[in-house]
Symmetry: C2
DNA sequence: GCTTGACCTGTGAGTTACGCACAGGTTGTA
DNA sequence: TACAACCTGTGCGTAACTCACAGGTCAAGC
């Protein structure tokens, strides 16, 4: 993970020693801690990059931070609802299938269990 | 999407016509409908490929289908819980930040809003 | 001094389910 | 015959890593 962050330029270890090994100073460790905190709060790596670059230029990233997390809360709510919908669909399917036997496929059908949901209203046509 | 499914071999249009256009027979349309139903039920494309290949060899995929969806229900439950945890964390952060002013970054700190969560118990180390 | 094994390095590729762009071929219409 | 509106395959980009690889470095033991 540290290798990856270094690769994409999110971490910049202070120096290559003459043996080729990277040297991480305490500031680098602090930066890594920051990244992990931000990730825990739902920030993506590219957002974190924006934030740290902003800060590295001496500008306060706090406004950006507040805005991002507000958006993220909304996005997340939508995702959670979609996943709950899916969960209900899966559970319903499993229950329906309890009373159905396995079938053998023919040219027209792949799996009648799945195809039994054919008539359900499908949002995308 | 159809182009993509054809590319990865999930859809196999019956023939190339002599003008180079693909010809989708009704079986292909049926196959596409199957794919979309399965996706709606939480199956991934590679699972769908396994299922259809199984069926194309005349073997019943129903057992596999039941097993996959049972696993998926468990996975999904875990994911939903993780997202709810995240959602709580984000909302808590936003609330905490309401009473905090923006700050200017210095060498040691990037954004004090985010760093104010430093002391929270972090599962990974 | 030499060998071994445990470290470290950068980099390429794979993961999911597409979307977009590109260069080029085909078709129908004015 | 010009042109727009289709179609084709293919390559690249997405997020956040992980794995594998080939090779360099270091400490310990013989």
């Amino acid at each position: 993970m540290v290798r990856y962050y270094t690769r994409i330029g999110l971490l910049k270890p202070r120096a290559q020693q003459e043996n080729g090994y990277r040297l991480f100073a305490s500031q680098d460790a602090q930066r890594l801690r920051f990244i992990r905190l931000a990730k825990r709060l739902g920030f993506t790596l590219s957002e974190i990059r924006e934030i740290t670059e902003h800060a590295d230029h001496g500008k306060s990233p706090c406004g950006k931070v507040r805005r991002i997390i507000q958006d993220r809360i909304k996005e997340n709510r939508a995702k959670i609802e979609a996943m709950l919908t899916l969960q209900n669909r899966m559970e319903e399917a499993l229950k329906t299938w309890e009373s159905m036997p396995d079938g053998v496929p023919d040219g027209d059908h792949v799996c009648h269990l799945i195809e039994s949901f054919e008539s359900d209203d499908d949002p995308d046509r």
